[in-house]
Symmetry: C2
Subunit: 423 residues, 2 copies
């Protein structure tokens, strides 16, 4: 496959990322929080890079930025990610995918040739949901799953509503779903991202194809026992909600291992929460993830069963409510296969297709068109922190492999395989 | 034994308790917080009751109130407890012991006879430590274990120092230890209190002798793992501090059962404490209690060993610090035997000597002179809450039994058995 497309200037892509970090990051990490000044500055830098290659960015009704490099055919192959970050975030999360896309457009623009299919760069708005708690905002507007009315009143820590923040950025939230019209010009979407986990680093690999995003079941379990005095309540007379939660947390771990998924109990609150009282109430948030819907459902069943048993064994009650859930989202089999081949050709790619445990814009886009992702390694798996980093040699391999995937995708027969609209 | 002493008017004691509750309690419970206006009102009511029987209360240098009814011999038998409460507290905690003592003084005063030994009523100041976090304040001044300099700067929620609060009540904290001189006039101390636990109610008993206060080892265990993403961190790559703490909390329960003590893990804090992150840090406060020092030490050893094992098994570090500790405090064997006999004679007394899992003024007094306590039942074991209550028939039996104990103690040969001063 290699040789047809112009070669990406990988060093330039990495230099662009470092310049972005210099302009919008600092000792406390990246500050490109969506709808804020540093985010606009980051987008301004991307616009400068595009202007340099003669491409003019456009903004859609949801605040996503698009840039098209015309090719021999339509619809376009879209490449991109997001430049917004969490507060005190990392320099690569999202930015890597946007800068890699800029690098691919640049390579074609400077080659003097037209790509076999139009290339569309996309920088999705507010992937992180850092201020308002609604992640994947721009990409869900594209896919049509966003409910503008339901999110309009969300407030940031400064008590500004989401609708107000968008309006300050020239975006009318009520019209955000009109961004979905962009899908008509698109055949497929590919996104390069950091893994944000430790798997590739542990295996000494630089890049991997990603087969989809795991489904998530997030439940809040409330155990109700009886608060009582730590000194005067014999062990046999206790109804300790905290210990029921502790047993359940350990069951979550066991169930996740048995099913090959992940299960996390990172939020636990005890009431009254003091050393001298048996906990009368314990609220445990359980986060379960698995790439297969059936396995995920089985995990949830087993965890709720373990919770019921732990509660009953201690004379406690248990209620649960869904905090959030999403079905597993598989990517396009053919594009994933192309990504796997590109990873293999890199010489440092994973022989396995990974599953993303985190959500990405690609998960939203995959609802409506063929989509795939590639991951590069993350040092110690750290992300959403100033320490977020990737060994530069791995970054270079991954950017090159992503260019290789784009080349394959440009030449694949994608136009006829678009999914029907789901809005 | 019965028949020598005048009979207590038990109904009057209960009526006094109800009047105190009417004056200084309400829909949210008792409001007799030490050093505040309602506490002074409660003490004013006790002074009224004493005036009615011709006894004038005195205040010592620590703010404890004393009232003496002269008898045939000295040193005196002290009876009492404390009238201060926690905010939104119960009507009986502390008040029961003071009103029962008033009832015994009243019975002698109205009998026209002198008791065989002087009776001293004591209402200790700030038993609860509700505002400043230092419990047993007045009784530890009496026993000499109080360190005035160490507590002078403690602050209440209104940012007032303990020294300031005492000064507003006419007490010079720097001179508080002078209260210890009162010990010279005392032979022994007996205190009636509610159990604040469920044992007597569960056995259908009204009253019990108390053999001492359990020792306490309270440790803060800090597990340090690695915070990481709930979706992207495989189970095998996790260092989950929260699960290490959960395992340890369950071990605390097991160890307490095995040793016949109690162990509580009512305070647990996870960091970052969010659903989408594996806990990188978990702080667990362990509260262990046992009446025997050797058993308590063994419990602590085993719990720390279990914590180390839980941490090591998950790649976490563990540090621990002592939050608070106190040795078990046994009461006087002879007085406890008299209390046990009085309980038995009541017809509804426990055949066993209980251990107090909570601390009481008697624990401080016991350091310096023969001391014993009696407990009456607590409905559902609830205390430090407006729901705190005791079946009235049990209250009556317990007040009568406490009077019986006082009668036995008045006639016992206590004077030669005072412990040497420990200040």
């Amino acid at each position: 496959m290699a040789g047809v497309a112009p070669r990406i200037d990988v060093e330039r892509v990495i230099a662009d990322l470092r310049e972005l970090d210099r302009r919008t990051g600092g000792p406390d990490g990246a500050r490109r929080v969506a709808w804020g000044q540093e985010w606009r500055a980051a987008r301004g830098f991307v616009a400068e890079l595009l202007a340099e290659i003669g491409v003019e960015p456009e903004r859609d009704e949801a605040g996503n930025v698009w840039a098209y490099l015309p090719g021999e055919a339509e619809p376009a192959l879209a490449l991109g990610s997001h430049v917004d970050s969490v507060p005190s975030g990392g320099w690569l999360d999202g930015a890597l995918g946007v800068m890699a896309a800029v690098g691919i457009l640049r390579a074609w623009a400077q080659s003097g040739r037209r790509p076999p299919r139009t290339l569309a760069l996309v920088d999705f708005a507010d992937e992180e949901g850092a201020s308002f708690g609604r992640s994947l905002l721009g990409s869900s507007a594209l896919s049509g799953t966003l409910d503008p009315e339901a999110v309009a009143g969300l407030r940031d820590p400064e008590d500004r509503t989401l609708a107000e923040a968008l309006a300050e950025n020239g975006v009318d939230l009520a019209r955000a779903l009109d961004a979905g019209r962009r899908r008509e010009r698109l055949a497929a979407f590919c996104e390069l991202h950091i893994e944000q986990g430790p798997v590739l680093e542990a295996e000494g690999l630089a890049v991997a194809a990603v087969g989809g995003c795991a489904g998530v079941e997030r439940r809040r379990l409330r155990f109700s026992g009886q608060a009582s005095h730590a000194g005067t309540t014999p062990m046999d007379a206790r109804r300790d909600a905290g210990l029921a939660a502790a047993e359940t947390a350990l069951a979550v771990e066991r169930v996740a291992r048995e099913h090959g998924g992940v299960g996390t109990t990172g939020a636990l609150a005890l009431e009254p929460g003091i050393a001298t009282a048996v906990a009368g109430v314990a609220e445990l948030v359980v986060d379960l993830r698995h790439p297969e819907a059936g396995e995920l459902a089985a995990m949830l069943d087993e965890v709720l069963g373990a919770g019921d048993a732990a509660a009953a064994g201690r004379g406690c009650g248990l209620t649960s409510e869904t905090v959030w859930r999403i079905e597993p989202i598989p990517f396009d089999a053919e594009l994933v296969e192309l990504a796997l081949q590109a990873a293999r050709r890199s010489g440092r790619g994973s022989p396995e297709v990974l599953v993303s445990g985190a959500l990405h814009d690609a998960a939203e886009v995959a609802r409506t068109m063929p989509t795939a992702m590639m991951f590069t390694s993350s040092i110690a798996g750290i992300s959403h922190a100033k320490e977020e980093d990737t060994v530069e040699a791995d970054l270079a391999v991954a950017i090159e492999a992503f260019g290789d995937l784009a080349e394959s995708a440009l030449e694949a027969n994608l136009g006829s395989r678009r999914r029907s609209d789901q809005t």
